[in-house]
């Protein structure tokens, strides 16, 4: 599903440039649930943003679902993001003046789905994350866990190939984190490819594979026995 070859990325900081990714090679198959770990500043978010076409690598090759992602203009990138990718952010990034249902429907709007279908799908995904009753509420009326579930519903709404989550549980307490992970595992069980950036070992262990970054290179890439989050959730 994802093929990454020798990706380099550096940030210009005035005179000198800071090398953040120094040759990343990574293959991720369909249906995988991968945790990307590493200390702060190791380049996890940078890698995820490149995979999400929000940022571009300097050199190297990135193939997503058989499509070579290269020299995209913004419009093309927007179409690919919309079609291939779903994002979940640490800070939820819901649009605060839109209701839960409107937030979930937004990627469908950009997909030019008609209004009725959009509303139906948005409601269906909200129900899937257990928030059917909350469709008409604004983000400000919801808890962190609920907001993140709305964000997950939104990321799923456009039926992307890959779900990219940058510290999705970073702003949540342990119990809520497990609830969110339970949801992510369920989605993965249905066959969706998911990448999660996390700092927490217990969250990483709920994935099927752990990739460790250090100073811009992968230092470890192992398959793990998945810990089911459901057992911690009543």
């Amino acid at each position: 599903m994802i093929e990454v070859k020798d990706i380099h990325k550096s940030y210009k900081m005035g005179q000198n440039s800071l090398k953040v990714l120094k040759g990343i090679n990574l293959n991720i198959n369909e249906g995988e649930l991968v945790a990307i770990m590493g200390s702060s500043g190791s380049g996890k978010s940078t890698l995820l943003n490149i995979l999400g076409m929000l940022d571009e690598a300097e050199t190297g090759e990135y193939i997503l679902d058989g499509v070579l992602i290269k020299n995209l203009n913004e419009t093309k990138a927007a179409h690919y993001r919309n079609k291939f990718l779903g994002f979940v952010f640490q800070s939820f990034n819901l649009i605060n003046y839109k209701t839960a249902a409107e937030n979930v429907a937004l990627p469908l709007y950009y997909q030019k789905t008609n209004r009725k279908e959009r509303q139906e799908k948005a409601l269906a995904y909200l129900q899937k994350v257990g928030l059917g009753e909350w469709a008409g509420h604004l983000p400000s009326e919801m808890s962190g866990g609920q907001k993140q579930r709305v964000a997950i519903a939104r990321a799923l709404a456009a039926a992307p190939k890959v779900l990219l989550a940058d510290e999705p549980t970073g702003a949540l307490d342990t119990k809520t984190s497990y609830e969110v992970m339970d949801l992510i595992q369920q989605i993965n069980d249905e066959g969706k490819t998911i990448l999660i950036v996390t700092h927490e070992e217990d969250i990483a262990n709920m994935c099927k594979r752990i990739v460790r970054l250090k100073d811009g290179v992968i230092i470890e890439d192992v398959k793990v026995e998945q810990v089911r989050a459901a057992q911690y959730v009543q």
């Binding site: 943003n49 999400g52 929000l54 940022d55 913004e74 419009t75 927007a78 179409h79 993001r81 919309n82 079609k83 994002f87 952010f89 990034n93 819901l94 649009i95 003046y97 839109k98 937004l106 990627p107 709007y109 950009y110 997909q111 209004r115 939104r154 456009a158």
Partner: protein
């Protein structure tokens, strides 16, 4: 186009407008004020214009007056400082020499510049008023509105040297009691009794005359004041298609020849043509219209620039939101379109409100100036001006909107998302 008519587009726009109520209100007020000023100013200027036109409609704008001063160049054995005396015989000569003359009225006056005003007595009341010796043709040159029941001088009055007079509105109120109908009454003018045959209404703007003037037949005047063949000055109307300024020059040249004035003596004869004055006043009114147009458009421009500014701030405030939208698949074009439409929509709504408000104010001004002695009438803004203003606003709204729209997409989505 599809974007423009989709319900979703408008929902997005209303969403963001509703979210930023304060901003929206301030923006709208800016443009509203601009278009309001524009509409009110140009309407008021139009009213002034209409007022002047109305003022002049009773006057032959192709009319002129010519009088004599003192000569300033010695000629044909005459020294300078002579005052040429127009004669009644000049009329025929002028008429034959200058075919463009339609009407010519020789005039004399007692009062004004020729001696002291006549002493006029009616019953116990008296007063001093200017008395004019006139021909009936005067009304063809400078219309006189005569109140109901009365009339102006006629040919018979001239032929019979009748002792009849037309008095002014103010003369009437000065000399007659309210219930006393002046028509048919006799007033004493410098010792002679005159029958009042009409009361004329005062029309402002018609030169030096006033609402207390008394008109008597030219021939009667001649007898009363022994003016003989003398004429004080001429009032002349040219045909509609004639150039008054040219006629004015021709008349003066002819009179110079008759009265042996040096052709190069510019000071010996004085003249005044209403056409020129009319043009000057209309020029002033048109200038006002133009000025109000300029000021109005500038104010609209300022308002629209205000919208641009506020949208720029709003785009900055919404950086993160726009970043989220782009992460979810909004293309730069879609983001730009959203901002642009918002700009145009705000401009238009504000503009229409301004037009309505301006129309109300014009309505108020019209009502307030009703019946006032002020040249102001029917202040309307031509529909083409209104449509033009709306078009200008749409165009400016789009152009101004382009700046924040471009700003919104110039930042990379990843940087936009990082924004707090």
């Amino acid at each position: 186009m599809k974007l423009l008519f989709s319900r979703d587009t408008w929902q997005e726009i209303f969403g963001s407008i509703r979210k930023n109520k304060g901003r929206t209100v301030i923006t709208v007020i800016g443009v509203l004020w601009g278009i309001f000023i524009y509409i009110t100013l140009s309407g008021a200027a139009k009213g002034l214009n209409n007022g002047f036109t109305l003022e002049f409609q009773d006057m032959a704008t192709n009319s002129m007056f010519v009088w004599s001063n003192q000569t300033s160049v010695p000629y044909a054995g005459f020294k300078t400082g002579r005052r040429p005396q127009f004669k009644i015989s000049d009329v025929e000569q002028l008429k034959t020499k200058i075919p463009q003359i339609e009407f010519i009225a020789p005039r004399n006056v007692k009062g004004m510049w020729d001696g002291s005003p006549a002493k006029v007595v009616y019953g116990q009341k008296d007063g001093s008023y200017n008395v004019y010796g006139d021909f009936p043709s005067l009304v063809k040159i400078a219309a006189k509105k005569i109140f109901d029941g009365g009339r102006f001088l006629n040919e018979e009055d001239i032929n019979l040297s009748r002792k009849v007079c037309v008095i002014g509105e103010r003369t009437q109120t000065d000399l007659f009691d309210k219930e006393d109908d002046p028509l048919g009454k006799y007033i004493r003018v410098d010792g002679s009794y005159f029958k009042v045959i009409g009361v004329h209404k005062f029309e402002p703007g018609g030169g030096f005359e006033s609402d207390s003037d008394i008109y008597i037949p030219f021939t009667t005047f001649r007898k009363l004041y022994n003016s003989g063949e003398n004429v004080g000055w001429f009032a002349i109307a040219a045909y509609d298609d004639a150039n008054v300024t040219q006629v004015e020059a021709d008349v003066k040249n002819t009179l110079k020849k008759i009265h042996q004035i040096a052709p190069e003596d510019d000071r010996a004869l004085g003249s005044f043509n209403l056409g020129e004055m009319f043009n000057r006043i209309m020029g002033f009114a048109n200038g006002m219209t133009f000025l109000s147009l300029v000021v109005g458009v500038a104010t609209i421009l300022a308002g629209v620039i205000g919208i641009g500014n506020i949208l720029l701030i709003s785009v900055k405030e919404r950086t993160k939101e726009l970043g989220i939208r782009r992460a979810l698949g909004a293309t730069p074009g879609e983001v730009r379109g959203l901002i642009l439409l918002e700009s145009v929509f705000l401009t238009l709504v504000a503009g229409m409100m301004g037009i309505v408000l301006g129309a109300f104010v014009l309505f108020g001004i019209n009502a307030a100036t009703q019946g006032l002695e002020f040249p102001y009438s029917n202040p309307t803004v031509p529909i083409s001006f209104v449509l033009g203003a709306l078009a200008i606003m749409v165009v400016l709204g789009t152009l101004i909107g382009l700046i924040p729209a471009q700003r919104a997409v110039s930042i990379k989505p990843i940087d936009a998302l990082r924004e707090e």
